[in-house]
């Protein structure tokens, strides 16, 4: 059958094998021209591995890289901001001399919370102070995710954990 046969390729006709063939070709063409990064599902699975399902999702709101003057010359400092319904989480990522990352963070509104940094190796935990400041002195480079644990009753967004997408340190 030729696809051009009138009546067989009209918009209101039922999908036939030629259509499925074309859709298959489109899929193959885009799969080759613009493939999903092969390791993306793994990163997503990493960030989904949460203990409780009741979570509030923080979205990446802003990201800025800049050169900062350090003792040994220019170094890269990266600032990342996440927003959720109840919290804003801002972190600055700097390099330690041993190759690990230092992460300084702030919560807004400021409050004491338990904050977990999940990495592919293990989990680090710190607490923020009354000003909402927290710091992870040494974090292994690689994939990492922040989880702000539920706070005291009465605090903004205290009932649920707030999680960020996985980011590459």
């Amino acid at each position: 059958m030729k696809p051009t046969d009138s009546g067989h390729s009209a918009a209101d006709g039922p999908l036939d094998d030629v259509d499925f063939g074309i859709l298959g070709d489109i899929r193959q063409a885009f799969d080759e021209a613009d493939p999903m990064p092969a390791d993306l599902p793994e990163r997503i699975r990493f960030s989904l591995a949460l203990r409780g399902l009741e979570v509030e999702v923080a979205r990446l709101a802003a990201e800025e890289d800049r050169q900062v003057l350090a003792a040994r010359g220019a170094e890269q400092s990266r600032t990342v901001t996440f927003d959720s319904d109840s919290l804003t989480i801002m972190i600055r990522i700097d390099s330690n001399s041993d190759g690990t990352a230092r992460v300084d963070g702030w919560l807004a509104p400021p409050q004491r919370r338990e904050i977990e940094m999940k990495t592919s190796a293990d989990s680090l935990s710190v607490a923020s102070d009354e000003q909402g400041r927290f710091a992870f002195a040494r974090v292994p480079r690689g994939t990492a995710q922040l989880i702000v644990r539920p706070g005291e009753p009465g605090q903004s967004g205290s009932g649920r954990s707030v999680v960020t997408p996985a980011l590459i340190l």
Partner: protein
């Protein structure tokens, strides 16, 4: 029709819908493995949805992470494979628009993502026929209105039984790809038939 075409069609086994529904149930009950299988199965589709919306690769990755994290708290309302796919596609599209709307992510004025795609790589002689077909396909796709390009790019990655649900969610009341061919696919077929190569085989 040759076999290659048939093989390239997205999975359409009758048990796929049941399998996905079982995975959704297990994920709702807290199975990380079930959720992970759903992620592996549907992320390639969502990648295309985000990229078709004009996002950079980095932004598309962020959007996919956000969408999957959000799904976790929406699993309660989702029972079927079609509902799951439709929710994921429309949420990815909304998140992509949201990201695009933020001032810091300026896009080129024209959002012709097709123009930004790399050309088909030159292959050996044995690939020449296939390359001709591929070039004809790209040429035909480029003739379509942007709306049709986006729809077909997305639908091509959707499992057959989910076409109607996804097309409906994409907000095309008539002419969608579903039980009927739809305006976009009909146009593409016509363009392929009229193309310089002359036929679709």
């Amino acid at each position: 029709m040759d076999d290659r075409r048939r093989v390239a069609v997205p999975t359409s086994q009758p048990d796929r819908g049941e399998r996905m529904a079982r995975l959704v149930t297990a994920a709702r009950e807290g199975s990380e493995d079930a959720l992970g299988q759903i992620v592996t199965e549907l992320s390639p589709l969502l990648w295309q949805v985000a990229r078709a919306a004009g996002l950079s690769a980095a932004d598309a990755e962020d959007v996919l992470q956000t969408v999957w994290l959000r799904l976790v708290s929406h699993l309660d309302g989702i029972r079927t494979s079609s509902a799951l796919t439709a929710w994921l596609v429309v949420t990815t599209r909304r998140e992509a628009w949201r990201v695009r709307a933020t001032a810091r992510r300026q896009l080129p004025a024209d959002q012709d993502w097709l123009a930004a795609l790399p050309d088909t790589e030159p292959g050996g002689e044995e690939r020449a026929v296939l390359d001709d077909q591929r070039r004809a396909l790209w040429a035909a796709i480029r003739q379509l209105p942007p709306r049709c390009q986006e729809l077909l790019r997305i639908i091509a990655f959707v499992s057959r039984p989910d076409y109607s649900a996804v097309a409906a969610e994409l907000g095309i009341p008539r002419g969608s790809v579903g039980p009927t061919r739809g305006r976009c696919l009909a146009k593409l077929r016509a363009a392929l038939a009229d193309g310089p190569e002359g036929s679709l085989r």
